[in-house]
Structure formats: structure tokens, C-alpha cells
């Protein structure tokens, strides 16, 4: 077993991890551990844009972005952190451009911006172009650019190293344990500071936009080590995933003028969000779509609706809406313009649906997309472990795995890419600063025991259960009962099923007995992470008796600020899952009714 020593270890090499590594490595010896080659990270699939109030197309202000994010969070976001993020946003986006990010450009040569759901001019209430974009592959460009900068700055990478445990010594961070996938060997990384940037856990649900790799590893590891998770009941279902596949069709399609239709050819969002219609917040639209389909207005009675971005449709409704281009001329598009702005979407539609989006409407359904909850942090990326925001020394988190909370109960589009670059940067800066002044904690003699036990158990089982079978049962029950609309009865059913699956998980057999790239064993370990998180998500969802943002209950359909304007904290203990709460930080904006 090999031991390495670095002052800062970053776990995960997506946008947040790479940003953290760039900043940490300037001042401290840093290593990045990732279970994937960095450019395979899920950041690369983000399409629509990164939100920042540059005001390049129309008047905009960070204050408006802040309010929109607070409102978008259904007033559960911590307003000091949100204001921090939206104010940092402008410089953060310029910094990306200075690093070489190839943004699309306006005729004047500035960074191009497009409208996006929930982002408004706060005076008129109409959509404002705030999403800074690079065609429809903004995430890909951010990931590539950050990776390139890491190469330029000679950041140290350990690729295809799966982190499996956090080492704690004297109540502080001492490092991580990782499995080298190509050899099956355990490695200990002795560190002063550890930054988790391991992404989300959408693979719990059947229809998801998330990559296979999104199995909540960082969250499961910290939960197992007694660190709480925050707000796990809040999971976002993105309105427009390709029917049955769940592959994401960016909100940017609606930003360019795409419209959602039901079986009657009706622009139904007019009824649910009269002012911004198809550019309402994602949870509002997903719920609207669910209701439309439940009431029988899905296309042909099926569980999908149409997203129509044919030029004739876009132009008809743009004229009705009075939409204008920045120079004041009416917003009218051609098929060429749509394809040139959304080339990747056109490619998905042709590849997977045999549909050309400028000649046929796209069949879409809501898809499990993003976790608002995660490892609790303050606005500097420091992990906080109780309701008083006590900092855990040397532990940091950034990106989707973290809960700052800037997204509260629902995240606005373009705010995740922003989250990565702002909080990735600060987690990296803080971790390096901490490392400068701290000593290494002693490594316990049995540092790898806990991880080895988990893997030995999986390898030595002869129980006969198959990971793939258990996974399918989990995904199915979670999508049906802990999805867009929840009831106590359904969630209770899901909880019992997940608990049964966790029992059966103890009897999983793994066929592959090898050490080199034992993907069978890794898939089983990842399933264990998903099951553990699924149970916590369900318990938290059952517990919160209100509807807010991405957590919508048929049996408690109203938002209840009197009893529930607070964050949920969940711990896994010997006695089971324990819950607690912490207050929401409210600075400028008192909660109001959320209408679009």
C-alpha cells in the first residue's frame, strides 16, 4: 500500500475541483484525485450558459441576479452567500474568458448572453439575457479550459483513482483513502486539507440526465464519517429531458424561443406562469408538465409533451410576446440561426430521436437533474457540521456536492456553472491558506481498515443478489414516489423498499474477482452509496410537511414559512437517521409568494 503526502487533496476533477486545484496549487502542494479522466466529468455536459450580470445585451445588475436567485430558491437560499456568488459572478466570468474560454460573441466582440428561466429584469419582470454562453456547450468549454489551465500550471493529477474514505484524526482531517482502478491497490493520501468536489447523485432515479459516474460518492463518504447532509429532500427535475432517455435538452432552447405544447397544441405555460411562461423556474415548469400529463393532455395520452423550436413557432410566439433583439428589432429567427446557436441539441435530436428540431417538435419529459442539497458549507467552502455552522478543520466542499446554500429549494439554470467557479475558487484559496498554517494530523495505523472492510464484504459475499437488479428496483421506486410529486403514503412505500434493498445489498455477489479495473466491484460499491443516500433523501422528504421548490407534496401543497423556513440537517448514526435544522440567512428579501 502506497502513502502519498500533499498539503491539499482535491477529490473530483469537474469544474469545481479543477477551479479549486488551480487556486490551491498556487500556494500549497496540491493533488487532484478523480475516478474519471478529468475531461470526462459531468460538468462537460452542461449546455446553456453561466449566469453573470455583465449587462452586455441589456441592462442588468448583480442585485437583480441576487433577487432572482433568492426567489428561485423559493426563499430557502442563504442570502448572504447568494449575494456573494452573484457579485463575484461578473469577475469570475471575465476570469474564465481571460483563461481562454471561447464564449460566443456579440457583434461588438463582447461575451454573448441569452435569456434563461427565472432570470429577470427586476423592474419589468421580463426575462433578461444573463446566461453567458459558448454555443450550447458552455460546460464542455469550461471543463476543457480549466483542465488546460491545470496542464499549463502543472497541477498534479491522479486519474482513475476512486476515493473511498475520509481519514479523520483528532477530530480533524488527515487525508483520504483511494483505490487505484488500474491495479486495485489502496493508496493513502496524507493531507492537511481535503476538498470534496464529487458532484451529485441523480443515478438514484430512473429517468435522469446524470452520468453513470454520478453516484454521490463524496456525500456517502462524509455521511459515513458522521458529517451531516443538508437539504437532501430538494432535488431538481429538469423539465426537458428526451423522452425515455432523460438526456438533457437545455433550457437555452426556450431561451432562444422554444415553446412547450400539450396534446391540444396549447402553450400551457401561459396558465401556470402568465408573465414569463416558458421561461419560468424549472420546478414550476416540471410540476406544470406533470399536471398536464396526469390530466391526460400528454401527447397521444403518453407521458411526454412537445418542445417546439421550429422557426415558425418561435417567430409566432416571439411576435405575440413582443420580444425584441438588443437593437430593438423584432426577434425573428431562421432555421440556420437556431441550428447555429444550438448545434449539440440538434445533434442529440437527430441521433437519439431521428428528429430534426427545426422541422419537428421534440418529445420531452421531466428528468432527474440536480441536487440542491449536499455537504453543508459556508460561503468559503468550509464544511460546517451543525446548526451553529461550526467549521470542521481542514474539510471543504464545492460544486454540486456542496450545499452553501445558494440554491435553496430550487436552482436556477446557469447558477450551477457559476457555483462551481466561485466556490471552487474560494474552497481552493481557503484550503491552501489553512494548509500553510496547519500541521499534518498523525495518520492512524488502521487508516484503510474501514474502506477495506466495505470491499472485502462485497467480494466475499456469495449471496446471489445482483447489483443491476437492486439498482433497477431502487430507481423505479424513487422515480415513482420520491420524484416530482410526493405523498406520505408513496414516500413511506419507497422508504420501506429502499430499506429492503439495503438489506438485500448485504447479499450482493460480485462476479469479477480480479484487481485490474474491477468495474463490477466498483459498480456495487457505488450502488451502496446510492442506496444510503436514497434512504436519507426519502426520510428528509417524508419529514418536511410542506411544498417548496423541488420538493412538492400532493398532501401538503402549500409553502409553510411559519414552520418550515429552515434547512434540514441529516446524520447517519448507530441509532439510524437523525434530523436537525438550521436557520436560513435572510438579509434583504423577506419571503413572498413565488409567482412567475
Amino acid at each position: 500500500m502506497k502513502t502519498h503526502q500533499y498539503e491539499v487533496v482535491v477529490v473530483g476533477a469537474g469544474g469545481a475541483g479543477l477551479m479549486a486545484a488551480l487556486y490551491a496549487s498556487r500556494n500549497a502542494q496540491t493533488a487532484v484525485l478523480s475516478k474519471l479522466y478529468p475531461t470526462r466529468s459531468h460538468t462537460g455536459t452542461a449546455q446553456g450558459g453561466v449566469g453573470a450580470a455583465l449587462g452586455n445585451m441589456e441592462e442588468d445588475h448583480p442585485e437583480w441576479h441576487t433577487f432572482d436567485t433568492v426567489k428561485g430558491s423559493d426563499y430557502l437560499g442563504d442570502q448572504d452567500a447568494i449575494e456573494f456568488m452573484c457579485t463575484e459572478a461578473v469577475q469570475a466570468v471575465y476570469e474564465l474568458e481571460h483563461m481562454g474560454l471561447p464564449f460566443s460573441r456579440t457583434p461588438e466582440g463582447r461575451i454573448a448572453q441569452r435569456p434563461f428561466g427565472g432570470h429577470t429584469n427586476n423592474i419589468t419582470g421580463k426575462p433578461v439575457p444573463r446566461a453567458c454562453y459558448a454555443a450550447d456547450r458552455t460546460g464542455h468549454m469550461i471543463l476543457q479550459t480549466l483542465y488546460q489551465q491545470c496542464i499549463k500550471n502543472k497541477v498534479q493529477f491522479f486519474d482513475e483513482f476512486q476515493v473511498v474514505d475520509l481519514i479523520i484524526s483528532n477530530n480533524a482531517v488527515a487525508g483520504v483513502v483511494a483505490l487505484q482502478l488500474s491495479t486495485g491497490e489502496f493508496h493513502v493520501f496524507h493531507a492537511k486539507a481535503v476538498i470534496f468536489a464529487t458532484g451529485g447523485h441523480g443515478r438514484i432515479w430512473e429517468i435522469t440526465s446524470n452520468a453513470y459516474a454520478y453516484t454521490g460518492d463524496g456525500l456517502a463518504i462524509t455521511l459515513r464519517r458522521g458529517i451531516p447532509a443538508e437539504d437532501l429532500e430538494f432535488f431538481q427535475f429538469h423539465p426537458t429531458g428526451i423522452y425515455k432517455l432523460g438526456i438533457l435538452i437545455t433550457e437555452g432552447v426556450r431561451g432562444e424561443g422554444g415553446i412547450l405544447f400539450n396534446d391540444k397544441g396549447e402553450r400551457f405555460m401561459e396558465r401556470y406562469a402568465p408573465r414569463v411562461k416558458d421561461l419560468a423556474s424549472r420546478d414550476v415548469i416540471s410540476r406544470a408538465m406533470y399536471i398536464e400529463m396526469k390530466e391526460g393532455r400528454g401527447i397521444g395520452g403518453n407521458r411526454y409533451l412537445y418542445l417546439d423550436v421550429r422557426p415558425e413557432t418561435v417567430n409566432k410566439y416571439a411576435a405575440l410576446d413582443g420580444r425584441k433583439r438588443p437593437d430593438g428589432s423584432p426577434y425573428q429567427v431562421t432555421a440556420e440561426e437556431i441550428i447555429s446557436k444550438l448545434p449539440d441539441i440538434a445533434d442529440f435530436c437527430r441521433t437519439y430521436l431521428g428528429v430534426d428540431p427545426v422541422t419537428q417538435p421534440m418529445p420531452v419529459q421531466p428528468t432527474a437533474h440536480y441536487t440542491m442539497g449536499g455537504i453543508p458549507t459556508n460561503k468559503f467552502g468550509e464544511v460546517v457540521i451543525d446548526d451553529k455552522n461550526t467549521v470542521m478543520e481542514g474539510l471543504y466542499a464545492a460544486g454540486e456536492v456542496a450545499c452553501v446554500s445558494v440554491h435553496g429549494a430550487n436552482r436556477l439554470g446557469t447558477n450551477s456553472l457559476l457555483d462551481l467557479i466561485v466556490f471552487g475558487k474560494y474552497a481552493g484559496l481557503r484550503a491552501a491558506e489553512f494548509a500553510r498554517g496547519a500541521s499534518f494530523q498523525p495518520l492512524p495505523a488502521d487508516a484503510t481498515d474501514f474502506a477495506r472492510q466495505q470491499f472485502d464484504r462485497l467480494l466475499n459475499n456469495r449471496g446471489g443478489e445482483r447489483a443491476a437488479v437492486l439498482a433497477q428496483e431502487m430507481k423505479s421506486v424513487m422515480f415513482d414516489h420520491v420524484g416530482i410529486f410526493r405523498t406520505a403514503e408513496g414516500m413511506q412505500q419507497a422508504l420501506e423498499k429502499v430499506r429492503e434493498l439495503r438489506q438485500r445489498f448485504e447479499n450482493i455477489s460480485v462476479q469479477d474477482r480480479g484487481r485490474v479495473f474491477n468495474t463490477d466491484l466498483m459498480n456495487a460499491w457505488e450502488l451502496g452509496n446510492l442506496l444510503e443516500i436514497a434512504e436519507v433523501v426519502t426520510v428528509c422528504a417524508l419529514n418536511r410537511t410542506e411544498s417548496r421548490g423541488g420538493h412538492a407534496r400532493d398532501d401538503y401543497p402549500q409553502r409553510d414559512d411559519v414552520n418550515w423556513l429552515k434547512h434540514t440537517l441529516a446524520w447517519i448514526t448507530e441509532q439510524g437517521i437523525q434530523l436537525g435544522y438550521k436557520p436560513v440567512t435572510i438579509t434583504k428579501y423577506q419571503p413572498k409568494e413565488r409567482v412567475y
Binding site: L36, R40, M99, R466, A467, D520
Partner: protein
């Protein structure tokens, strides 16, 4: 529909030589080849090993040879193959580690060798550096690369000698050479002005055919050759 899936297998811990396993499976015409592999792994043979992540053609993890040609396994639908007999093998020119997993290190080493990052030593403005839409368009195609290796491992010159830097690395260089904000074009052209740089490209076009992002790879290599030959970027 019933399909026959033949998969290349090699277990470095047990096998001296590779062999093929055959599975007969029920599948939908709209299934991806990746879906078949996942099904086999989940239900029939857990030891089958392959890389994959996003499953929709963006991350580049699952480049494989399917019926003799390079594709991303998640972008090929069964109905596009026009046959019910599907053979899946690892991409060529990189050492096979296990089953469909190959050693990507030499590929990434070639990528790093061309300075694949923006070089601009001037003080940046407070806001963005300006770039016109035309300047942005000049290098748009080569920004699309996802480093999947379909191009480089489809290239007969690369198969003949893996010291060739390969199409993907040249695409990465092109992206910066023709970016108006970059200042190191001359240096990258010097790096590629080498027998194992652009000159191993014999305009075979396999790369362009193989690219799942539809990048005009051969054209990009040609533009780099022209820049070396003329000393100009226009």
C-alpha cells in the same frame, strides 16, 4: 428483436491471449450499443469491463470499435448499424489493459505536448478581451473536441507508429493557433513542424470519418500544415 453481440475479452490477470464472447440478446432498435453492454454486464457477465459516463456522446469515455469502425458506444443505435450482428472491440493503437479498456496515457501525453492552453502574457483588461464573431468562428470547429481518441486510433499512420502526435493533438493545437487571443502560434507550429508532427498525416481522412463530434479533422490538420508552410495564419 434478437441480436448477436460478439465482444472482445482480455483479462490481464488470467489470459495470455484475447478471445471473443458471444451473447444472444433481445433488444430494441433504438437501444444504444452501450445499453447492450450494460445489460450484458449487469445480468450475464459482471466481469465485462468498459469505460462510460455521460451516455450521450459528450464525455468521450466509451470510444470503441463497433463492426470494425470507431464510434462512441452511446451514440450508436442498433437501428443505425443495419445488421443484427454486432462486434465490439477496443480502439486500436493503444495497449489493451482489460476487455474494452485501453491505456489512454500516451494519447494524453501527445495532447499535453502541443501546449493546449491559452498563452497571452499581456495584462488582461478589466472586462473580457474583445473578439469578433468572425474571429470566434475561425476556430469554432476545433473547440468541439472531447478527447475521445476516435480519430487518433482510426489513423493508419498512428497504427504504424504511435510516436505520431496524432489528429486529436493537432486539433487541440489548431484551436489555439487560430484563436485571435493567443500569442504562441509560432511555438506550436514549431512543435508540429516535425516528422512525428503534422507530416505523418497522409490525408487519409479516417479521422474525419471517425469523429463523433463531426469535426473536420483532416481540414484542421491541413490548415496547420499550410500555416507551417506559409508562415501565416490567414
Amino acid at each position: 428483436m434478437l441480436v448477436t453481440l460478439k465482444v472482445f475479452r482480455f483479462n490481464p490477470e488470467q489470459d495470455k491471449k484475447p478471445h471473443y464472447d458471444t451473447f444472444k440478446l433481445e433488444a430494441q432498435p433504438t437501444d444504444r450499443v452501450l445499453d447492450l453492454l450494460e445489460h450484458v454486464k449487469g445480468i450475464h457477465d459482471g466481469t465485462l469491463s468498459f469505460r462510460r459516463s455521460c451516455a450521450h456522446g459528450i464525455c468521450g469515455s466509451d470510444a470503441m470499435r463497433i463492426n470494425g469502425r470507431n464510434y462512441l458506444a452511446c451514440k450508436v443505435l442498433l437501428k443505425d448499424l443495419g445488421t443484427r450482428k454486432i462486434t465490439v472491440e477496443p480502439i486500436m493503437g493503444l495497449r489493451v489493459i482489460k476487455d474494452l479498456i485501453v491505456d489512454m496515457e500516451p494519447f494524453f501525453a501527445h495532447y499535453r505536448s502541443v501546449m493546449p492552453y491559452l498563452v497571452n502574457s499581456s495584462t488582461p483588461p478589466v472586462g473580457e478581451r474583445l473578439q469578433s464573431p468572425e474571429e470566434r468562428e475561425r476556430f469554432d470547429d476545433t473547440t468541439k473536441c472531447i478527447l475521445c481518441a476516435c480519430c487518433t486510433t482510426a489513423c493508419p499512420s498512428f497504427w504504424a507508429n504511435d510516436q505520431y502526435v496524432g489528429p486529436a493533438a493537432i486539433v487541440a493545437a489548431h484551436r489555439f493557433i487560430f484563436d485571435s487571443r493567443d500569442e504562441a502560434a509560432a511555438e506550436r507550429l514549431r512543435i508540429l513542424n516535425d516528422q512525428f508532427g503534422v507530416y505523418r498525416c497522409h490525408t487519409i481522412f479516417n479521422c474525419t470519418v471517425a469523429c463523433p463530434r463531426e469535426i473536420e479533422v483532416t481540414r484542421a490538420i491541413g490548415e496547420v500544415k499550410r500555416a507551417i508552410a506559409t508562415g501565416r495564419l490567414d
